[in-house]
């Protein structure tokens, strides 16, 4: 089985995000990066499937700045066999990102194309299903359970209210992975050493123009200063009164 895992390099989730000087993007000063949280579930799913199906190959693909080679090597150290770096310095919207990924994936054998179900930065939840559409393959999103048998992916996806939907998706297909699917492993020391010497498939990305244009980025509206109602159980009654008569939410 040929498995592609699309990975995003994103600011770590404890980073403070401030709009930058151009007013359209965040200020990168002092921001550290990592593999976007949910992509780690996609990586683990790909590596676990390879272990179950000998002869399989897992290729990690990143669209991003040249420095993303670091995250790509982490993917290889964790268990991927190969890394593709589509280099671009710009910020791209979901459709442009999907177009660049699909253009590359078309040139690679692919039975399964895995994504995180949402990125921690842009949060569009759209790159996976858009890439699937551009590749002309099926897709299931927000996947929390997966097995592959006889050319079919048996998938569980999370829907509202604690319910789960069970689907069958014919391969090749794309899946976007959610927390709960697995427990991502860490890179092994042996993997880290091997990743250092793995040659990456690097080249400029073919990305079309953005269709969603950011006019401005702002910090969230500041919240008015709150008040401490009181201490301990005695404050409960007063709180409920304030919620009813002042905040008017109950």
């Amino acid at each position: 089985m040929n498995i592609i895992v699309c990975v995003r390099r994103a600011p770590v989730t404890d980073a403070r995000i401030k709009p930058g000087a151009d007013g359209r993007n965040y200020d990168p000063a002092g921001v550290n990066y990592d593999i976007s949280e949910y992509d780690k579930f996609a990586l683990e799913a790909g590596i676990a499937l390879k272990e179950k199906n000998p002869g399989s190959k897992v290729t990690a693909v990143i669209l991003g700045v040249k420095d993303s080679a670091k995250e790509l090597r982490t993917c290889i150290a964790t268990g991927c066999d190969a890394g593709v770096l589509l280099i671009s310095d710009k910020e791209h919207d979901a459709f442009a990102t999907a177009s660049a990924l699909a253009a590359k994936i078309k040139t690679l054998p692919h039975d399964l194309v895995l994504f995180g179900h949402i990125s921690v930065d842009n949060q569009s939840s759209a790159v996976g299903p858009m890439t699937a559409e551009l590749l002309g393959i099926g897709c299931a999103t927000v996947v929390t359970g997966l097995s592959v048998e006889g050319g079919v992916a048996h998938v569980e996806r999370e829907i509202e209210g604690g319910k789960r939907e069970k689907l069958e998706v014919r391969l090749p297909c794309a899946l976007t992975c959610q927390k709960g699917l697995n427990k991502p492993r860490s890179a092994s020391m042996k993997g880290i050493m091997a990743a250092k010497n793995t040659k990456l498939d690097e080249g400029p990305a073919a990305v079309p123009a953005n269709l969603i244009n950011v006019l401005k980025m702002e910090p969230p509206a500041p919240r008015p200063a709150g008040k401490i109602v009181g201490e301990g159980p005695d404050a409960a009654r007063k709180l409920v009164e304030l919620l009813r008569n002042e905040a008017k939410v109950i």
């Binding site: 989730t13 299903p129 099926g138 939907e165 069958e168 006019l215 702002e218 109602v229 301990g232």
Partner: protein, 330 residues
């Protein structure tokens, strides 16, 4: 033409609340763009419901039915939305940012080679063009966006007002999509229910979340979690959780609120024994009113809370249940 097409999600034979909110926002936008608001419903047994959508702002209602729509099928839904976006000459295509909308709208937008603004919280016309605002980084920042070409957007539930039923009416037109079950690449086999009637944190109007200070539900925190669920049941809230709680396996991941969980915007958010990591604060700071209960008066959660009680979950939860129950009865 500046028509607005709204995919109104149906649930249990009715237009969902989130679907009506999208319809209301679409009708308001169409009015400022000088176009029509066209509702699109998909499913079987929805004829009576389709006839009511004019009362919520639709000027026409399109109804697609047939075996491809007997269950949620992302393939069929995406094809239907893309086909109708084209047929209606839509400048804007809206749906709810729910598990259905988030599943099919990216594919529909990609079919039309259009951009998608996901999970938007504001929608308006500026200089005759639609403009949307969406949070990024789970609310640490927000961006105002405009599309080149038609704008596809999903609307965050509970942010746009649910329109009141008015006196309008709109004709219903049956639409077809050339699609057979054999074309489906993904087929839904079964829907597995969780706990019956469980509210989702992303959809609920009130969310009560517990943090690490609630302690292990398999040990000394057992009564705390039972109390949090009782509080939620008393006020019609969904139960949420912090990342620490989910990572410890105390609560299911579907309940996690924050940058690595769900971003929520309820009218009331009650955080119990959550200190307030930056990722959690980002995910819930869009709530209208925030209440924090924490025994540490210096906890960061108090910086974003409108109302705070300094106290432990053990002490405060039983009193809250009693106070809410009394207020809601009287």
């Amino acid at each position: 033409m500046s028509n607005v097409l709204v995919f109104v999600e149906a649930k249990d034979g009715k237009a969902s609340k989130a679907g009506l909110q999208a319809l209301g926002a679409g009708a308001a936008l169409a009015a400022s763009l000088g176009g029509k608001c066209i509702a699109l419903l998909a499913g079987n047994g929805l004829d009576a419901e389709a006839a009511t959508l004019g009362a919520y702002g639709a000027s026409r209602t399109l109804l697609a039915s047939g075996e491809a729509f007997s269950k949620h099928s992302p393939d069929a839904m995406a094809r239907l939305i893309a086909n109708q976006a084209q047929a209606q000459g839509a400048a804007v295509v809206l749906a709810s940012a729910t598990s259905v909308g988030k599943d099919c709208m990216p594919r529909a937008a990609a079919m039309m080679k259009c951009g998608l603004a996901s999970d938007i919280v504001e929608l308006r016309a500026e200089g005759g063009k639609p403009v949307a605002v969406r949070p990024v980084f789970a609310g640490k920042a927000r961006v105002t966006v405009q599309a080149s070409g038609a704008l596809f957007a999903t609307l965050r539930p509970n942010v746009f007002a649910t329109p009141a039923r008015g006196g309008g009416s709109a004709p219903v037109e049956a639409v077809k999509v050339a699609f057979s079950l054999a074309d489906l690449k993904a087929v839904v086999k079964e829907i597995v229910s969780g706990a019956a009637g469980k509210l989702d944190v992303a959809e609920a109007e009130i969310v009560c979340s517990g943090g690490r200070g609630m302690k292990d539900p398999a040990g000394e925190g057992k009564q705390n979690w039972a109390n949090l669920e009782k509080l939620a049941a008393t006020i019609g809230a969904a139960v949420g959780a912090s990342r620490a709680v989910v990572d410890a396996g105390w609560r299911p991941h579907g309940e996690q609120v924050g940058q690595t969980g769900k971003t929520v915007s309820p009218k009331l958010y009650i955080a119990v024994a959550i200190s307030g990591a930056i990722q959690h604060l980002a995910g819930m700071s869009g709530s209208k009113v925030i209440v924090a209960v924490n025994k540490d008066a210096q906890a960061p959660i108090f910086k974003v809370a409108d109302y705070g009680i300094v106290g432990s979950a053990e002490d405060v939860l039983p009193a809250l249940i009693e106070a809410f129950a009394a207020a809601l009865k009287g």
